[in-house]
């Protein structure tokens, strides 16, 4: 309860789930992802197997290569609803039976959609692996999407959107995405909104499943306390007969950065603070400059002593936390600065935020700061690849993005090789300067006069308005 600091996304949202593991040769100097085996079954399913024997737990992570960008227009939330309904009924089990069998062994099993893909996780104690695999394969191969369960979940999700809007910090990212990306599929609310969720039918869900949940469109990673040969045999037995068909390719174009300044104000009349994000279009996960950008962002807004948090929190007490991040997707995702401050200091905080961004461009970073950020990223990395669930997620994502263990095994070397010239270059190329999107949630009657100066027009919405 009541942490001193906000949670840093360790510079990168998506990357957080990822990165590496640790072979320890010479202390922290060596970093090596534990070996894992990659197998492609005859039906096209990709298996990734990594043994980890420290705790008697086995973690699964599967990726189906279709996320909310594949949602039909006007029915945003289909990918997410499909994922949620996987465990709500199969050819041989009701939702209740699945829940009972799963809970009885203390297992976990769930799936959710991201923009680019659907991700599922499952975890079982080693002794229960047979039951675990039976349940995992059943929900993935045989879901029936019963009408009653679909209707129930839709109603819950519509209400969940309303409940989420009662807490500004939980929805600012969705509003920001929608405003920044506009009609680009990356602007869609992954879970859908009050109206689009209600518009989805059971047939939409079944069709999404039929179209995209195919073995050649799926990656299944497992990490934990097992023997590779035996696990490979068990997985082949469970998933080898899954008939393949080709899933349609999802074509997306890169989003273009917003030109000029645009501002959206969402009125939440009970707000005592203004929550805001400022930024523009960022980078994809596979950017060749990712590590250098991560180093600069660490200094700019990625850790407690960052420029943003020093100015807005440590030196002035204007906020509890200020940070920045590049949310990395298959194509260019958003870059944002995120913070909040009380109504009366809204203008002061935004001025300061823009000033810090300007200083980054004008002054860059120092040799000493560069060294500090390098130590920080390297020192904080091993705990991100400590557990079987982290490792299973990491290798599944690397595979999805067309990367492999080299992404991890060269991570420290790439950090070490970075120079001040690299920093200058990535600041200029990737951190927005004049072209900025502003999204604010706050009490419009108090803050609107102050924020007019940040953009030629103020666009307005009410938090109770349907959609984002």
């Amino acid at each position: 309860m009541l942490k001193r600091t906000f949670i840093f996304s360790l510079a990168f949202l998506l990357a957080c789930i990822a990165p590496a593991t640790v072979a320890r040769a010479q202390g922290a100097a060596a970093l090596k992802l534990p070996a894992y085996k990659k197998v492609r079954l005859k039906n096209g399913l990709t298996l990734l197997l990594m043994e980890q024997h420290e705790v008697p737990i086995i973690s699964f992570n599967f990726i189906v290569k279709a996320g909310s960008v594949a949602d039909p227009a006007g029915k945003e939330g289909v990918a997410s609803l499909t994922a949620g309904l996987l465990r709500k009924g199969t050819k041989t089990r009701t939702a209740d039976q699945i829940a009972n069998e799963l809970d009885f062994v203390g297992g976990t099993l769930g799936a959710f959609a991201t923009f680019d893909y659907t991700q599922g996780t499952a975890e079982f104690v080693r002794k229960d692996i047979a039951k675990g695999l039976e349940l995992l394969s059943d929900v993935l191969l045989n879901p029936t999407f019963p009408q009653a369960e679909t209707t129930k979940m839709q109603a819950q999700r519509v209400d969940a959107v309303k409940a989420a809007k009662d807490e500004a910090s939980g929805v600012i990212g969705t509003y920001y995405n929608a405003y920044l990306f506009g009609s680009h599929p990356y602007g869609r609310p992954t879970e859908g909104d009050e109206k689009t969720i209600a518009a989805i039918t059971r047939e939409d869900v079944a069709k999404f499943y039929q179209t995209y949940y195919t073995p050649s469109n799926t990656i299944l990673a497992v990490a934990g306390d097992f023997q590779t040969a035996e696990m490979e045999r068990m997985l082949t037995e469970r998933f080898g007969a899954w008939p393949d068909k080709t899933a349609p390719a999802i074509t997306l174009t890169e989003a273009a950065p917003v030109q000029g300044k645009r501002l959206l104000l969402i009125d939440k009349p009970d707000s005592t603070q203004t929550f805001y994000r400022i930024g523009n279009i960022g980078i994809p996960r596979t950017s060749a400059d990712r590590v250098q950008i991560e180093v600069v962002n660490t200094l700019f807004g990625g850790r407690f002593t960052s420029m943003l948090n020093s100015a807005l929190r440590i030196n002035t007490g204007l906020t509890y936390g200020a940070r920045s991040a590049f949310d990395q997707r298959r194509l260019r995702g958003p870059f944002f600065i995120n913070t909040y401050t009380r109504n009366e200091t809204t203008g002061q905080a935004i001025d300061m935020t823009l000033d810090i961004l300007k200083r980054l461009h004008e002054k860059g970073i120092t040799e000493e700061e560069l060294k500090s950020a390098k130590s920080y990223l390297k020192g904080q990395f091993p705990p991100r690849i400590e557990t079987t669930d982290q490792l299973a997620a990491l290798i599944a994502q690397l595979e999805f993005f067309g990367l492999d263990e080299r992404d991890i095994n060269t991570y420290y070397a790439r950090i070490d090789a970075m120079t001040l010239d690299d920093a200058r270059r990535v600041i200029k190329q990737y951190f927005p300067a004049e072209n900025l999107v502003f999204v604010l949630i706050g009490k419009a009657s108090e803050i609107e006069p102050v924020i007019r100066k940040y953009a030629p027009n103020v666009e307005k919405k009410s938090i109770t308005q349907v959609g984002f």
């Binding site: 001193r4 008697p56 850790r303 020192g379 705990p383 109770t464």
Partner: protein, 450 residues
């Protein structure tokens, strides 16, 4: 050197709860040493990653406060990062991050906990940083004012802009009339605005004696090197009197209490608090089993009834956290739109009543124990999680070895125990109900869309 090193090698045998199932075993060696100034050090070596988690638990929290300075423990926690003698303002974080480390801290009703996470080659530096602030914390008036703003912002975010935070605060303020659990850990806003320098200095003197703290170190370390570092950096710090004992006991509640919060919101919210005993009480385990049967997983009774079958709520959960003194078992339900809060209430009460009248099934009992075992594994799978668990058991149960007995303690719980604690604690007159009632100022856009 008079200090005594006691090495305990404990084998944590987690025999699976259900007898016919295969047994799993975990070894888990903790070595302990108590410094001459009274600080106890617990070390568990885990070379899996080249990192270390170092936690310091101080036995002081909001229960040690008084009206007028509520939230002081938490504010003080913030001040511990704002400069001491060797490392001035901003240096603690700057130096630690530059060395590849990071940190955080949290304050609860009972404890203040400082957490450092860092590469193993920085042990010396981390001890130097910790010793400096424990011994020589500075109190700069300008920094105090700035940090006051930070904490006020934290309160605005976690209470004013969060319906669950707001309702939680009102629930405890209503359920407690005498005991200090009645005020929020973050403090009332008027107190946050009013603390004085001497309040902070008094707090430091009261709570931050080494004898009032326990250090836990988990990671790629040797216990002997940790004890040596502690002797070098921490042992010279003199101890003094611990904070005054909290002697107030909350009188028995004699009837249901209700509190309502009206504010702008789209959906209502409900919380129910029942007085239950402190963590070290023998009924703790049966209550955790009961909580698991009622609330854990989609097959749990409350989920099945409220979310799945009757479709009254979006979610339902229960919190029963570690505490030195008798605390609350809190049920939180998020009703669906258009559902009367009374209907949600009735369903919650009926499910609680059922556990008082009928025994839970054997299958439910075994399921709960399996879930608790799996959760246990999840809590100890990281060095951070293990440091937190070892420290919490040492502080709240009085002995970290209780952690290794947890599996056995849960296994002993019977169906009769579960019914007994349900009858004992889920009485109507022992209950406080907090309701968030949405008030909406209609706007033109909204009128159009509904």
């Amino acid at each position: 050197m008079k200090s005594v090193t006691r090495a305990l090698s404990l084998c944590l045998l987690l025999v699976a709860f259900a007898a016919p199932r295969a047994a799993s075993a975990q070894t888990f060696d903790v070595q302990t040493h108590t410094l001459k100034n009274g600080m106890k050090i617990l070390v568990q070596r885990d070379p899996d990653i080249p990192n270390v988690a170092l936690y310091i638990f101080y036995r002081i929290g909001s229960r040690n406060e008084r009206p007028g300075t509520t939230g002081l423990s938490h504010f003080f926690e913030h001040m511990m990062f704002n400069g001491a003698k060797k490392y001035g303002p901003g240096q603690f974080d700057k130096v630690m991050e530059g060395a590849g480390g990071s940190n955080n801290a949290y304050t609860s009703t009972d404890v203040t906990v400082y957490q450092d996470w860092f590469p193993r080659n920085q042990l010396d530096l981390i001890f130097d940083l910790e010793a400096d602030r424990i011994q020589h914390l500075a109190f700069d008036p300008k920094i105090i004012e700035s940090e006051r703003g930070v904490v006020a912002s934290e309160r605005r975010t976690s209470v004013e802009a969060d319906n669950a935070g707001l309702l939680w605060e009102q629930l405890w303020a209503t359920a407690y009339t005498a005991h200090p659990y009645q005020w929020p850990v973050v403090g009332w806003m008027v107190d946050i605005e009013g603390w004085k320098m001497e309040d902070l200095q008094n707090h430091f003197r009261a709570g931050y004696s080494p004898s009032n703290a326990t250090m836990v170190v988990v990671g790629d370390v040797q216990p002997a090197e940790i004890f040596a570092l502690a002797q070098k950096y921490i042992e010279p710090i003199p101890s003094h009197d611990p904070p005054a004992k909290v002697t107030t006991k909350e009188p028995e509640q004699l009837g249901e209490r209700r509190v309502e919060v009206r504010k702008f919101a789209q959906l209502p919210m409900l919380m129910f608090g029942y007085h239950v005993p402190e963590t070290a009480h023998p009924d703790y385990y049966a209550l955790k089993v009961l909580q698991t049967i009622l609330f854990s997983g989609q097959s749990s009774r409350m989920y099945q009834r409220l979310v799945d079958k009757d479709q009254l709520a979006l979610s339902v959960r229960a919190d029963y956290d570690f505490a030195f003194d008798p605390t609350l078992f809190v049920v939180t339900a998020q009703p669906k739109e258009g559902i009367a809060t009374g209907a949600v209430e009735r369903a919650v009460f009926e499910e609680l009543d059922r556990t008082k009248k009928e025994l839970v099934t054997e299958q439910e009992l075994e399921k709960a124990k399996n879930i608790l075992l799996a959760n246990f594994y999840r809590q100890i799978k990281t060095i951070n999680g293990r440091a937190d668990q070892i420290g919490s058991y040492e502080v709240f149960f009085g002995d970290y070895r209780k952690l290794f007995n947890a599996a056995e303690d849960f296994r002993k719980v019977t169906r009769d125990d579960v019914r007994r604690v349900a009858q004992k604690y889920f009485a109507d007159k022992n209950r406080t109900v907090a309701t968030l009632v949405p008030e909406r100022e209609a706007t033109p856009q909204e009128a159009g869309s509904r």
